[in-house]
Amino acid sequence: MKKKLKFNACVGGILTGGMLLFILTGIFFLPYDPDAMNAELRFAGMSLAHPLGCDNYGRDILTRMLVGSRTTLLVALGTIVVGGGVGTLVGALTGYFGGWLDEVMMRVIDALFAFPSILLALVVVSLLGAGKYNVILALGIAFIPSFARVVRSQYLKLKEMDYVKNARIIGCGHFRIIFVHILPNTLSVLVPTLMIGFNNAVLAEAGMSYLGIGVQPPDASLGRMLSEAQTYLFAHPLQAISPGFAIVLLVLGFSLLADAMEEKGCRC
């Protein structure tokens, strides 16, 4: 058991670290202009100059991967910051205080949960226009309910704990109790949830790109590159393989880490 755990953490760490390193490289160094088109290089195969080949516009795929994975990371992180932040806040307040606030907020959360996320995304995109920041907003809103529920249930459980009662007796304010006393104790559950949320955001971004409401061209994201490439899947499978592989590695790394953390959380 312990051995496997270590193995998970190891592989997950290596994958995630590798991807982060890749993304970091892209911030400081890009071999080409990611959007520069070149008719002579359409569908160019692998070569020393273009290690992953070129796409249908003759753009260097490696460069676009460097930029695209950065966008994907930004969208996924942004989503869990928005969704996780608001969700945690709502879950904490409703779980701790209960009463009418809980009743009203949970109905809104239920309604949001029952609202097809694709419709939500379409509404946000139609209203504000497409683009990565609006994708973050759309996905963030769609992710609020799941975080709110997890956090709320933790607060319901933890607020009855003795240490919370003690804190109240010695005169701590509600907000101090909520954020200083209880919040750190939810982390063992919250962190894996956030990591799974991150993965879902990566996959959801790809889905939105597929439906044409994701990141706008010529911007690159892994999902957008993958969905653009599928048009040429028969003749030029290379164009799909790189972004597809990158998505799988990114998600795999995070979910292995999340597993490792969850198990560790259970143990202590």
């Binding site: 959007d35 359409r42 249908n56 061209p217 010529p218 599928q230 048009t231 040429y232 028969f234 003749a235």
Partner: protein, 503 residues
Amino acid sequence: MKRSISMLLVVVVSLALALTGCSGEKQGESTESQITIGIPQDIEDSLDPHKAVAAGTEEVYFNIYEGLVKPDSDGNLIPALASDYTVSPDQTTYTFTIRDGVKFHSGKELTVDDVVYSLKRCSNPDDPVLLQAGMTGIESIAAADDSTVVVTLKEPNADFLCEMTAAIIPQSNEDPDHVSDGTGPYKFVSHSPQESFVLEKYDEYWGEPAHIEKVTLKVCANADSLVMELNGGSIDMMARVTSTQADQLSDDFNVLEGTMNLVQALYLNNAAKPFDDVRVRQALCYAVDRQNILDLTSDGHGTIIGSSMYPAFGKYYMEELSDYYPHDVEKAKALLAEAGYEDGFTFTIKVPSNYTQHVEVAQVIADQLKAVGVDARIQLIEWETWLSDVYSGRNFEGTVVGLDASTLAASSMLLRFNSDNSKNFVNYNNPDYDAAYSRAVSTTDDARRTEAYQECERILTETAANVYVQDLAEFVALNKKYAGYEFYPLYIQNFASLYIVEE
């Protein structure tokens, strides 16, 4: 328990495999000749031909409904439900002789009353939904006798005959929204939304009958899975595939090349800054490398054009305008500097996201404009948002779309650039143009009219009304089992000419 579950698994999987095995062989059963044709959008309008607005619907209805005249594959108007027609010398009176022995799909005989009813129906100004744009100049429609209909115009209009392609439907049909009754070589059978639209050969067609008994139009909304569907064999024909899609087709297909018959351009809002300055528009024309666009998006296929007219218009088309603005970055920069934009500017190109070919071209243009310091941002919007915001609302800076023509009258391309026209969504405003256009429509002399229309085209080019790009190449994928596909210079698919190749 474990064993029973595994058993269940085996049963379910084998059952499913057996099912798919069965379904794989289903095609061989019927002896009736049939073809499945992919269409990119559902036929969403009502079955009433006068209400049909989507180009994709009209091209299908061409097979079901007919007018007094109809276009042939060269774009010439040939008699259809009128066996003959005469035009008075002053071009205000059109006399049509109704063809004998034409029957509607319902079995009812075509009469002059049906013709008068149909023409009045779509020229009634009190019903703006049914009203066809070109029918507003009609003075009267009347039956002279049992086989003659006379249409009188308020003023001469040389292009009026084009409007007489309007569908004739029987007066007795009380619910044309839901009941289809036409005279074409195919009749309507069924429609299942987002799924299929089925046509069947009409045996009592007055003209040359169709060859294939049953035509199933299958909605293939997802352009990305199209190649798989063609190669997999679930559709036999698809019009307007891209060159990259065509490249990936298997040996079972013939790829026919024609032109799409539309004017693809970066349409600019002439009323919005900075495009209200002719030098800025000209600079963009110089900055765009059209051949490069063709190379990057369609392997060099397509016809470069320089004005709002495409080659199928024959005598009206002016080839010399296509290289009026050769690719010249320095000249573009100089013009921008002259207009006060030395450092370039930023603007947004709105593109309807469902049209891959326009989205692709917009991306290439945005990349090319970078060379002259212009930062073009692309915003993909839904077609419906494009219609309400860009087309009706005129709230845009630039947009890449293709405009097609409903008839081969030059006016159908050029009317919209009159400064007060309701369809002038680019807000083009030029008194010279308006004058040249009104000269063209008021004359009855063909040579002088052609000259005036050409004048209009030249003005559009010289003032760089829009950044004209190309008439796109059209590729039709047709399974080798079938032949007989005909290209039309208009947005038309003629299923009646298709036939099965004997092996």
